[in-house]
Symmetry: C2
Subunit: 197 residues, 2 copies
Amino acid sequence: MSTEEKIFNAARIVFQKKGFAGARMQEIADEAGINKAMLHYCFKNKQQLFEAVFMKAFSQLAPQINTIFNSEKSVFEKITQFTHDYISFVIENPFLPQFVIQEMNNNPEFVMSILTHANRPNPDLFISQIEKEIEAGIIKTIKPKQLLLNIFSMTVFPFAAQIMVKGILHLSDLEFNQMMEERKTSIAQEIINSIKK
Amino acid sequence: MSTEEKIFNAARIVFQKKGFAGARMQEIADEAGINKAMLHYCFKNKQQLFEAVFMKAFSQLAPQINTIFNSEKSVFEKITQFTHDYISFVIENPFLPQFVIQEMNNNPEFVMSILTHANRPNPDLFISQIEKEIEAGIIKTIKPKQLLLNIFSMTVFPFAAQIMVKGILHLSDLEFNQMMEERKTSIAQEIINSIKK
DNA sequence: GTTTGGTTTAACCTTTTGGTTAATAAAGGT
DNA sequence: ACCTTTATTAACCAAAAGGTTAAACCAAAC
């Protein structure tokens, strides 16, 4: 693994655990097992190192959404596939949602610039598809954006609020993961139940 | 308003916007319109000032949950009342959810100590009530904790991820608030639809 | 073997930041 | 009026944190 990769991975770990403001360059250097000056040799400064990490994280989250939402399937099929695939992905990267949400809140200007970029999540096609299926009488009358928000809420929230959820529901790491495994299939069923005519 | 209140309110604003690590004592002093030394005169240090703010925030969020969940109503009534009241409350305090979640992630040891305290959110009674209504054939077979997680996800997530939601769904502040107003009643309906026999 | 180029480091520098102090102003009791 | 206590401030301090530099290291090229 190249030094740049070592730094990047260390930065990912530290930034995701402590956030931008809480992360220390020295801690990233220690985590990478190299001298602090190397950070500035490979990446200009803290901000740029952070942006590299954040972009990578965001670019892993976003395209999947578009791939699924812009496919040729029905709304129900898309919901089923999205919730399953997305939870599978986030189980492997459990810190990503909270990391992205946190830094969007603390750093809105920088992040909004990302949202105007190319492969940003774009729900427009999915939204108009929902409207069509409502007119066709397949789905109950519901605001498409509300439905979309429900889907994201049910999939993402448990990971974003992981620590609190574990605390309040008295879940061990193992139990939490088992619940998330169940959710891969259960929440699609529940969402579909709530909107099918 | 006493100086202590001015400091507390300023601290609340700055901590909720920037988080513990990102907040600056000088910025809090400026926001309060007083000298920085006064912060240390009224509160011992940054940590203690933060804990005061966090405790207040958490103690506003938690008891409501218990009051509703431990009442004498049916599961459907509780879901209806909880989602409505909770969204109403969070509309008035839109930064609370993200603030609490963020600091729980960045500071788990400190926060877990709060969760063992007295008026922590305690869903035990509500969970056993769900089990009873499942046996009674009122509700479909579902894991109570999954249902609880669904309820929290649908109510809390849109606020926790507010900036991202606005960005992806192209919502102005006004449109976002209108959507949340709708959710006060709509999500209870949708949740109940998805679980009623 | 020596030069040359990119790596890597120890030591250093500068700014920021949380926190303190000592002096001053205001308030209250007698 | 005078003293005591409380509130408030400007100036200061020490530690932490981000960033720089100049020298050392090390491989490949000649």
